[in-house]
Amino acid sequence: MPLELRSVTKRVGAHAHIHDTSVRLAEEGFNILLGTTLSGKTTLMQLMAGLEQPTSGTVWFAGRNVTRIAVQRRNVAMVYQQFINYPNFTVFENIASPLRVARVPAPEIDKRVRRMADLLRLGPLLQRRPAELSGGQQQRTALARALVRDADLVLLDEPLANLDFKLREELRDELPKLFAGRRCTVVFATSEPMEALLLGGHTAALHQGRITQFGPTAEVYRRPVDLLTAQVFSNPPINTAPVTKQAGSIVLSDTVRWPAQGHQQQIPDGPYTIGIRPHHVSPVAGGHTAARIDGNVLVAEISGSESTIHFSHGPLTWVSQSHGVHPSQVGDIARFHLDVGQCLFFDADGRRVA
């Protein structure tokens, strides 16, 4: 039962929230909407759910045009960043509420609620009220409410964003298991590239109300179609620098140049923008073809197993992220190694060419 948006736009006053968007979601696995705050993730979800009407274009579900069908008749469920539960209902009543509205017989409700509560480890908490639960338990309750009705479309709008780090990891690991074997389309919005990679499935990269690329998550990450997608899908931000290709060499600055690698050999001479992810810039030489780059250390952070070093080279600021502890002092001149085979090349329009 795929969900499809056909040339959907959303304008509020003079402001375009969603530009002309067409996308056909995957039926299997998560559909991840990845973008920063205000990139249009929530608006896109509301359009998918039917909470908002598109300014133009149509929404299709299972081959049916559902654009004008009210949200409560579409069998969708949604979980939000805030923990949304009925405040004076018990956990049991909260999970049961969509079934009660749908007039499911009481014994059936009891059975389904208990099954769902066991699945989400809420069994012992059924008689509590939301105010007596931890954030993680409140969000589990909201998830149970969304799942108990066997919705055709489940929309998860940054459901992990308000949780503590530990709980977030826990619930993120459980999510794919919860949806495994369910016949529903799942959409998951997040602003964290790492979350998209961990959840897998398909990813739509969003930038200012536009889907820049939609495809299998690993594919979008490895082969972004343009610079915007690469920037959306990289944390810490991807390093970018203007380069020139001439006579089989890539020239970044007076001191940094390397012979064109792989696909880089096929692109014509001229100016390009390269993008290179922070973990391909390392303070230690690896086995791969590397270009050496010297820089002034601006910030050096060590987080247990990883070192993050910000440095400047000429007018540009770079970020290096590497395994292990690589102590360096602010103000040091340090040498880094660019894994040039991993460089993404973008033309003047921002499209990836190599």
């Binding site: 949604m78 939000y80 805030q82 949304i84 969509p98 007596e132």
Partner: protein, 289 residues
């Protein structure tokens, strides 16, 4: 090395509060307790009387009547103002340029000094020259708040509703504004009716501010003095003589300091007890957070 130094000057910081509370509450209260157990015939000579005044007040029909009027008045205005305030808050726009217009309009009655409110309604409701009085009589109603107890009560209640409903509106509106949009969306997805949204989302989310609104309105209306004093002076007859008006009549009109002091203390204890009951009932069964 770094021995802890005792510094008594720290007390100076709390001195202003101590002085303020002492002058504002503790000393007057002690004076009242003092008066309530003594009798005086002038010349600043006092005799200890024990609980005589308390017994006298508690057994006086005059006190019972005033207390009954007070309870009726407070009950009526709570029953009108709280639902009306919530209804107005629900009807107000949630965003856009009209929000501030509505809020300012709502706040206006609260900015007017209490005696001015009384004076306004006094003139507004006069049957011969007041707009309201002329209108009602023009409609064929027999309305004269200076002569008929029913008219006096109706005017008194209308005045209080006009003056104080805004407070409930503002508190309820603040409560409503704090509900994230996601709640309404979730309810919409569930297919919940607007009654269900009110009953299961808005009302529980407003519970805390409504508790405060009810308590404030209860205490203020139970203490009300200025407006009825200016509007009716407790008349016609004794029909609008609420507790505080009666108290002032006894204390300043008759200069019966002992009974007035005893009545003050009983009055205070009634408010305290009723406030506690309201609070306990309204916050019953609430979660920790």
């Amino acid at each position: 090395m770094d021995a802890k130094t005792e510094n008594q000057r720290g007390w100076l910081y709390v001195l202003p509060v101590v002085v303020l509370v002492a002058c504002n509450a503790v000393i007057p209260l002690m004076a009242v307790v003092n008066y309530s157990v003594q009798e005086t015939f002038g010349n600043n000579v006092f005799f200890f009387e024990g609980v005589k005044w308390f017994q006298q007040v508690l057994h006086s029909e005059r006190f019972h009547a005033a207390l009954l009027r007070q309870l009726a008045f407070t009950g009526i205005i709570l029953v009108i103002e709280v639902p009306l305030g919530v209804a107005i808050a629900l009807a107000m726009p949630r965003r856009g340029p009209w929000v501030s217009v509505c809020l300012v309009l709502m706040a206006l009655p609260l900015l007017i000094p209490w005696n001015v409110v009384g004076a306004m309604w006094n003139i507004f409701a006069l049957p011969d020259i007041g707009m309201l009085g002329r209108l009602l009589n023009g409609l064929g109603l027999n309305y004269n708040y200076t002569q008929q107890p029913f008219s006096a009560w109706a005017t008194l209640i209308a005045m209080d509703v006009w003056h104080w409903t805004s407070l409930v509106v503002l508190l309820a509106y603040a409560g409503l504004s704090s509900i994230p949009d996601a709640y309404y969306q979730a309810a919409k997805i569930d297919g919940a009716s607007s009654w269900a949204v009110f009953r299961y989302i808005q009302l529980p989310k407003m519970k805390r501010v409504l508790t405060i609104a009810v308590l404030l309105r209860f205490m203020d209306s139970f203490n009300i003095y200025t407006e009825p004093f200016v509007l009716t002076g407790g008349g016609p007859g004794n029909s609008t003589t609420l507790l505080s008006i009666d108290l002032v009549k006894i204390a300043l009109g008759q200069f019966d300091l002992g009974p007035a002091a005893a009545m003050s203390i009983i009055y205070f204890l009634i408010i305290l007890a009723l406030s506690w009951i309201f609070y306990t009932v309204m916050t019953r069964g609430e979660g920790q957070s």
